[in-house]
């Protein structure tokens, strides 16, 4: 929008002109996702995951609305109504498995999207607001996914609801009343199930709204790119359509192949067997784990095993878990390096690939493992690095690191002319 050389929307039909004068929807789409949005010409495949996450959100909303036509949010029949969908509703199994696996794929896309932003410095000025809105989307998505997992009212649903609302109990003084407020009772039951269903239906639309702001904010500075160098002129960009619509298009096909392979051939691989046992408030499963996309945070929660003077370990774990995500809100101001892309930051690159990525992989593995040694010790080490990376390494690194020379422009980087000293 802010590029003077952006192509201008020209209605081709009389009706198009009539609409454009009254409700310029066509112009809006043209300027945001069409030929009117100049996009850096050197984006790599890591830039495909934003649109992919958007596609999976659409899949979740469509299948979710359909499931809500058959699901009954009542603790007595919720489990059976899901089985009714699986057994009796026409193609019900397909829609439910698409929804269950779609959540996982949404998170895969969103994690790769976040990882790209972390590596290529997409959170840095002037894109802080895009990043902040993205963190909000992620938080909303976590809340939505958690409440959705409660709805089938199996053993994991029930105990997940109990354990996660139990986190709030750690808050001094007001913890217990807050937990009872959230559940509408002393343990998860009808009241909790109904409000979770209501919010699970609402939040995706809130997410969609925040995504609109996320894209709006994106169109002010335009997309970042693998060099991190700002767009200097028309030669650095191509119109979003057809160049990136075509690239997104075929990549979506690839992603859908993986998705449908999961959906039709191993639909329960990412789920947990215990959730096919109806909820039983009197018996806890041997090994409670959340869905895989929460494992890193779950590992941080469980890593705190010792009190700190007057702060109990339980509260510390909860604080650390929330801080681990909330720290992202401060990221643009913690990392002050003027260079965006990790490609031109030799030390940052090492900390990223040999520090942060293995650390999150270890946290993820330990979060899914039983709470016993050596997993607790491993997650303690990984948590230590996680906090150190964002709160100590990044702020100090930007002071001492010497970036490698940047290309003068995107075009120069693409066409491979000899790279000169950074301007």
């Amino acid at each position: 929008m802010s590029f003077p050389w952006a192509q201008q929307y020209k209605p081709t039909t009389e009706f198009g002109q009539w609409m454009d004068d009254r409700l310029p929807v066509g112009r809006l789409i043209y300027n945001s996702l069409g030929a009117g949005y100049p996009t850096p010409r050197n984006l790599n495949y890591m830039w495909n995951f934003g649109s992919l996450a958007g596609l999976f959100l659409v899949i979740q909303i469509v299948t979710g609305i359909i499931l809500a036509m058959h699901y009954a949010a009542n603790a007595n029949i919720a489990f059976d109504s899901v089985e009714h969908i699986m057994r009796d509703v026409n193609s019900g199994w397909m829609i439910r498995y698409a929804h269950a696996n779609g959540a996982s794929f949404f998170f895969i896309a969103i994690y790769l999207h976040i990882g790209r932003g972390l590596y290529y410095g997409s959170y840095k000025a002037p894109r802080e607001m895009i990043w902040l809105l993205g963190v909000v989307i992620y938080l909303l998505a976590m809340a939505t996914a958690f409440m959705g997992y409660v709805l089938p009212w199996g053993q994991m649903s029930f105990w997940g609801a109990k354990v996660i609302t139990g986190l709030f109990e750690a808050i001094p003084l007001v913890g217990k009343p807050i937990q009872e407020l959230l559940l509408g009772g002393f343990a998860p039951d009808n009241a909790a199930l109904n409000r979770f269903f209501s919010l699970h239906y609402l939040l995706p639309f809130v997410i969609a709204g925040v995504i609109i702001m996320h894209i709006w904010a994106l169109h002010i500075p335009g997309s970042n790119n693998p060099t991190g160098v700002s767009v200097k002129g028309k030669q650095d960009t191509v119109p979003f359509h057809p160049f990136y619509t075509a690239k997104d298009g075929w990549f979506v096909g690839l992603a859908l192949i993986v998705f449908t392979a999961m959906l039709f051939f191993m639909p329960n691989a990412l789920g947990h067997a215990d959730n096919y046992i109806p909820a039983n408030p009197l018996s806890t499963p041997a090994h409670i784990v959340p869905e895989w996309y929460f494992w890193p945070w779950y590992a941080i929660l469980r890593a705190f095993t010792f009190d700190f003077f007057f702060i109990p370990a339980k509260l510390l774990g909860v604080l650390a878990m929330f801080s681990a995500i909330l720290v992202w809100f401060f990221l643009p101001w913690l990392d002050r390096s003027p260079v965006r892309s990790g490609d031109y930051r030799p030390r940052f690159k090492k900390f990223f690939w040999f520090g942060l990525i293995p650390c999150i992989a270890i946290l993820g593995y330990c979060g899914g493992a039983p709470a016993e040694e050596p997993f607790v010790m491993l997650s303690q080490l990984a948590s230590a690095y996680y906090f150190a990376h964002f709160l100590i390494v990044l702020p100090l690194l930007s002071r001492i690191e010497k970036p490698t020379p940047l290309p003068n422009s995107i075009t120069e980087a693409v066409t491979g002319k000899p790279i000169q000293q950074a301007s």
Binding site: D80, A261, F265, P267, A273, F306, F330, E372, Q380, F390
Partner: protein, 284 residues
């Protein structure tokens, strides 16, 4: 300012973690955790294959019918199948009259209300009915079974870690407790030793106890292993009746997506050809 406080908070959390790790490590070395007895004696499910396995798998209806017979004659007295309806048996190859007869002659009748008195009563089942529960409720089930509630079997192969292989292993895995099993882990009264069960001792007595316990009408020799495998196959079907349809639909969808993706890729390549060729021109 943000960085100053950030570093302080970072030092706190990271410090706590390193401290916890240190204390955990000392504890680990000085007092190594002992694996629970259950771990030492517990065994992973046996390797067993079913015709429905794999991306091209199909149900063997003969086997499913045999499995249904085993369920009916061995399991049904205690274990329900509450999510499956008699009409679903048509998928195993029974015709309409056979399904009707199975429903009407099922040993447990469907709960209903007497139309004249309004009192609770029972009536013979019709195909539209789900399999009647063997016990009115959990209390009745526990009271009749030495305080253990026999689980409903509708979803059992999806609700247990090892799936059908676990069921098969459990059914064929009853054995005498090994001599070195500690006293505390030996089966108490009313319990039975089975290394495939999580805590080694379960309330269910060995259900399949002898060859030819059921008489198969298709002439298959009813060995103990055969019966266990047949009923496990049947329970795969009860847990996921659409399993085969899922795989068939999956292949059609994958084939379509593959062609569509190749076309989209070629389209992408052709659209970007200009930009790429410009790059080549510059390279030259």
């Amino acid at each position: 300012m943000v960085r100053f406080f950030g570093i302080l908070i970072g030092l706190f959390f990271a410090g706590m973690m390193v401290y916890s790790f240190g204390r955990g490590a000392v504890e680990y070395v000085s007092n190594p955790p002992v694996k629970a007895v259950e771990y030492q004696f517990h065994e992973k499910p046996k390797e067993v294959s079913f015709t429905s396995d794999g991306p091209f798998g199909k149900f063997d209806n003969q086997q499913l019918q045999r499995g249904f017979q085993v369920y009916k004659e061995v399991c049904a007295a205690c274990h329900g199948l509450r999510l499956v309806a008699f009409r679903n048996l048509a998928e195993l190859g029974y015709n309409e009259d056979e399904v009707k007869a199975i429903a009407a002659n099922w040993p447990i009748e469907t709960a209903d209300i007497d139309p004249n008195t309004g009192e609770a009563s029972t009536r013979p089942s019709i195909p539209a009915d789900k399999f009647p529960k063997p016990f009115a409720n959990n209390v009745a089930a526990a009271a009749a079974n030495n305080n253990a509630i026999p689980p409903d079997l509708s979803l059992i192969t999806k609700a247990r870690g090892g799936g059908a292989a676990y069921i098969y292993s459990l059914l064929t895995g009853y054995t005498q407790p090994p001599a070195d099993l500690p006293e505390a882990n030996r089966p108490g009264t009313g319990l039975h030793y089975n290394p495939y069960f999580a805590n080694l001792n379960l309330a269910m007595a060995q259900p399949i106890v002898a060859e030819d316990q059921v008489t198969y009408s298709d002439g298959t020799k009813a060995t103990m292993s055969q019966m266990a495998q047949d009923v496990s196959a049947f329970l795969i079907w009860t847990a996921e009746p659409s399993l085969i349809k899922q795989k068939q639909t999956g292949w059609a969808v994958l084939a379509f997506l593959l062609i569509a993706t190749i076309l989209a890729f070629l389209s992408y390549k052709s659209i970007w050809a200009d930009v790429k060729s410009e790059k080549k021109k510059k390279d030259a």
